[in-house]
Point group: C2
Chain length 264, copies 2
């Protein structure tokens, strides 16, 4: 998985790309043109893709890994406003205000589109515009979830809600014994800055949830779901708000989960 990744990975993404929820909504002709104007690229973690005064204008689809759309303050405070998950479009944001940036949260595989082709297609093709519009709506829903979570829930509840939700966009697998295994592919820091809390609180909450038998921490990056319903209760949610608001693209999702060694 480490050596020779760039070559091994080259084919599957292109496949997943064509099947991705976004591309599927685009008519065959423009889709083909878009894919012809695309190229795959692997970037390391914590690379800046875009920030306020360096308008690295590029559009693309995230194939694997995670990006964070965030806002910084000079005194170090940060808030992640969107976690770009596999299957998501990125780079279409045009934030005129200061402090916003888009970075990779993990190593990531991108499928970049030629900007000119994309913009042209956007004018010509209605199906692409529709897809973009739907994607925007989905993004708005996510942000509603995030804002609600930060604003109305206490840190422990946020973290429990996040774990439940994360099953929809982080590498996750239901196990035969009824439990489920999730791989926390992003750092504590990123989770903390997404949920507007601190890394310490996350650690303590994980431990607390573990002590109460709701989850089990196999290692820092792997959590076993023992009692999802109990977790939902802990999140202060109306029972089964398991419906993943931030769900990734199903096609890409299976691709993520089918990889032998799950990230991190």
């Amino acid at each position: 998985m480490l050596h020779g990744q760039s070559t091994t990975v080259a084919k599957p993404p292109a496949c997943a790309l064509e099947q991705s929820r976004f591309c599927i909504q685009v008519d065959p002709a423009p889709r083909a043109r878009l894919i012809r104007a695309a190229h795959i690229e692997t970037i390391p973690a914590d690379k800046v893709l875009w920030h306020d005064d360096a308008p690295c204008r590029t559009v693309g689809l995230l194939v694997s890994g995670y990006l964070r759309f965030q806002r910084h303050n000079r005194d170090g405070r940060r808030q992640i406003l969107n976690l770009t998950v596999p299957g998501d479009l990125f780079g279409h944001e045009d934030e005129r205000n200061e402090g916003f940036s888009l970075e990779s949260a993990t190593e990531a595989v991108l499928c970049r589109f030629d900007r000119r082709v994309f913009d042209e297609l956007l004018i010509e093709d209605g199906s692409l515009r529709r897809a973009l519009y739907r994607y925007g709506s989905r993004n708005l829903d996510r942000l509603h979830w995030l804002t609600w979570t930060i604003g109305a829930l206490r840190p422990e509840e946020r973290i429990a809600a996040f774990l439940l939700n994360a099953r929809g966009f982080l590498p996750y697998r239901d196990l035969p014994d009824g439990t489920g295994l999730i791989s926390l592919a992003i750092s504590r820091r990123d989770i903390a800055d997404l949920l507007a809390t601190s890394v310490e609180t996350i650690c303590r909450t994980f431990k607390s949830l573990g002590k109460d038998g709701l989850i089990r921490l196999l290692d820092p990056a792997h959590v076993l779901f023992l009692d999802p319903a109990g977790l939902a209760a802990r999140a202060g949610l109306p029972d089964r708000e398991h419906a993943p608001v931030m769900a990734s693209d199903p096609a890409v999702m299976t691709f993520i989960n089918d990889r032998p060694g799950v990230h991190r």
Copy 2:
């Protein structure tokens, strides 16, 4: 302003409506058709316009007053996710999840469109779709601001930032002596649930800001800006983030401010 409002108000809104930023972006023909399919309606404060299982499917433009798009928990917790301000479109949200609702935060004048006509026009007319798309982007920007504010700022900072920002969408007027007067048309409760804090904290912060000579509380609903720059510093902002993220429609805004007796 109290008696006979329905008649007095009847004409100006229609005028402001045609000039509103949203309608201006729509081509003349569909705009005319839309306006023909519209009717003005005045509703009292705290009226439910829409909630999860009563899909009172109606689209419209807010002429005056304020609406709150919010999410409730059964145990009383609430988070306002968007404050609909004059000139804004409302009712186009389609939240499938539970707990969401749209209510009037103040007495409000609505311009409702016939749903069928609106949907038809949406299919037929590109300019309407574009206007809707732009409106959606603006809404996303707002929500980014709100989420950042809640997530990264402490209550006092949030309130200072809110005050500065509110000049763009609450009744506000620059005074000859260099100060500015704002009318807090919405309740403390709503401000608190927007900024994810408590009404008590808002009171205390107002008083604290007043004691430091940044503002003056004329009465519970009227605040005088004495030192906007100082307020921005208090908000922990990069100096002059006076740029109103949540700005209302300029045309409608002047209409609000030109009314003799400012709300509340």
